[in-house]
Symmetry: C2
Subunit: 434 residues, 2 copies
């Protein structure tokens, strides 16, 4: 009997799926839920997908009061697993227990981490995890100064501090405090805004970027990849903040608009009520969520580097010249990869929007917003996820899952059969475009 | 003094602009308007742009009762000029009056017609005009059988028949009959639906496709370009019809859904009230308008061939193979051109949607619909164009104009300076996508 040969794409897709299924079962356990049977299978599956893909959408109105302390620990662990990504963690555990890492596992890790070189991957994984835990620990300590003074129960405040450090750095955007609209109460708490904001930004930049900046301590020495990620992140944050303030004027404070701008980039925490903001702000949030965070980070979306390559391609096309960045060439292969990613993401979001409209009584604005939020693993909602049916839940589960493993992985999975005639030479065909 | 060297892109952009300005002045003439001064300059400019770009959006509630017979002739001529495209017509008139056509003019015509070869362009232009007029004449004769029996004034019916043959074949989508909701009264007139539908489809395929089919009379002998255009057009028409019928069920007859499906592909005539259809139907109309018609036709949008190349690229990327069509290779250059066109179109539509939301009290659904309708030169409206301010009118004028001359022309115009260092060889830079 021959073993089925698994491609890295299959392994990524299957391992995420396996962890989601395990998470679903954990969430349904009697010791996880305060009230036995209060969570349906589909809602457990939805919530598990949301946690592992660190999206933060959930049909459960109030996670805090639905789950036991054990349940909340499970949820925090699922976010952490999602954030470090299933494979990174698997490989790390494998090194801890001393097993050899073969070439195949490295190839998987390469796909999962989007790294171009196989060398030093294991070392890299160790670093990722170490730096993540250090940042989360610092965030936890600062959180203590925020939550202990504002809460009656100190033990509860400590738990909340730990949970929110994990949730913020992993861009999960979930709150689990046992009462509604919790974060809205902290909308003008400066320390809360800074700590949560910085944790989200750092997570969205990605540990590899943070590590490189710490090590090189000089803008000139940074890799082009890292320079692009830093510039685009800063530019988009400022753009979002300025636009939201211009649109909402006195309806939002400066703290609120900057927190909103940070969190559209797939963290997803909210200190404002989205159902009360203008349609114009929604029209800014949608593309910001779609663009998302850095390419090797806990954030989602198409990634800032993909946007950068796309924009560079448009400009150089207009000039009729090669596409250059920092005196290097962006190849046609890289450009096509960026375009294919953006186009397949948009087609998926279009189909999702259409299906949500088919299943629910809503308009294109809401259906599009929820689709982009799920796909980009942001998790913001226009008060939609709580009231949808089975069909819409299934759509959003699929969107969160595809958004996390990446539409390119899906394309490779669907069309996995080898091109049978790849050695033939074909004559070019000119086709009129536009 | 050195003459400024005009690129074909500049000439295309400027000639369309010049004709629009001339049209604006014509529409403001006392003999054009029934009531002197009843049309503001911005509305005249808007309507002129709409006619020359054969879009059909207009802030004038009832064109029929606002303009004199002379005015209606002017409007018909402007649609015809727009349809044949300003440059094609200019060159034809030049050949008629016997002047030599130099290489430069041919180069312009080449850009304007999207043709890859310079040879036989003048002959092609003559054919385009001859075939267009023959089809319009047949459409006019059939229209007589529709409008003479249903109208009191026979002379008026003859005028209406001529106007609507021109409006339908050129995918203008304008009606000018002197009373409101005229076409809605013909929603179950079989001959009207067939005649207007066939004229719109033929115009959307483009005269070059029609000519090739007439000449070769065999599927096998057709060019790949023509095969793709025919297959995509048929596929999209059937898809639209089936989806609209599934969505609207008994709310629309089969004749109504098929007429709607045909007209989303940038003709823009309506026999149903769009403000009463489901959001789900709107979510189908938007992408169909965006895709548009054939690449060398009176229709707008990104064009069916562009969509075809994009989809082929996605599939072949997933397979990790070359992009083939009909046993020929689609080059990376063609693929990038398609992606650049689609992306710049989407960015423009995004900016337009945002600005309409900034200027008007509306939602993303309506603002997006109107933006796509203007850009794709379809001219359908959710009862929006009549009530907007100066800012929104300017946005829609720009979108109609850019949609007609093409976003790629705009990209070339903005970045027209030569790449100064195009002979240098650059090192490739790998950038992580997604
Ligand atoms: K999130
Ligand atoms: K039209």
């Amino acid at each position: 009997m021959r073993k089925i040969k698994m491609t890295p794409y299959m392994i990524i897709a299957l391992s995420f799926f396996t962890v989601i299924i395990l998470g679903t079962i954990l969430l349904k356990l009697p010791i996880t839920l305060k009230e036995h049977g209060s969570l349906s299978w589909i809602d457990a599956f939805f919530t598990s997908t949301s946690l592992i893909t660190i999206t933060g959408l959930t049909p459960v109105l109030d996670l805090g009061s639905s789950f036991t302390i054990f349940g909340k620990v499970v949820i925090a662990c699922m976010i952490q697993i999602g954030g470090l990504s299933v494979l990174t963690l698997t490989v790390y555990i494998m090194t801890l227990i001393g097993s050899k890492i073969g070439f195949n596992n490295r190839a998987i890790l390469k796909e999962s981490l989007n790294q171009n070189s196989l060398q030093g991957l294991v070392k890299l994984v160790k670093r990722i995890i170490m730096i993540s835990f250090i940042i989360e620990f610092i965030g936890f300590i600062i959180n203590l100064f925020i939550f202990i003074p504002t809460m009656d129960n100190t033990y509860h405040a400590i738990g909340v501090s730990a949970f929110h450090a994990i949730s913020a750095f992993n861009n999960a955007g979930l709150e689990i405090l046992g009462f509604n609209n919790h974060f809205l109460n902290y909308h003008n708490n400066l320390l809360f805004n800074i700590n949560t904001g910085v944790l989200s930004i750092l997570g969205g930049l990605g540990v590899i970027v943070i590590y490189e900046v710490m090590k090189k301590r000089s803008w000139k020495k940074l890799s082009i990849q890292t320079k692009i990620t830093l510039k685009m992140t800063l530019g988009l944050l400022i753009m979002g903040t300025v636009l939201f303030k211009l649109i909402e004027q006195n309806q939002m404070t400066f703290l609120e608009v900057s927190f909103l701008s940070i969190n559209t980039r797939t963290a997803g925490f909210l200190t404002v009520d989205l159902t009360k903001v203008k349609s114009l702000s929604i029209a800014i949030i949608i593309p910001l969520m779609f663009i998302g965070a850095g390419p090797m980070s806990t954030g989602g979306g198409i990634k800032v580097t993909t946007l950068y390559v796309m924009l560079k391609s448009l400009f150089s096309f207009g000039r009729g010249s090669q596409t250059l960045t920092h005196k290097r060439l962006i190849t046609d292969e890289t450009k096509i990869k960026a375009f294919v990613l953006i186009q397949s993401a948009m087609i998926l979001i279009g189909i999702s929007t259409f299906l949500l409209l088919a299943f629910e009584e809503t308009n294109i604005q809401t259906a599009l917003f929820e689709s982009v939020s799920a796909f980009s693993n942001t998790g913001m909602t226009l008060n939609f996820t709580h009231k949808i049916g089975l069909g819409s839940k299934t759509i959003l589960i699929l969107m969160m899952y595809i958004g996390r493993i990446g539409p390119l992985t899906i394309l490779h999975l669907i069309y996995s059969k080898k091109a049978s005639n790849s050695n033939l030479v074909y004559i070019d065909e000119k086709i009129v475009i536009g």
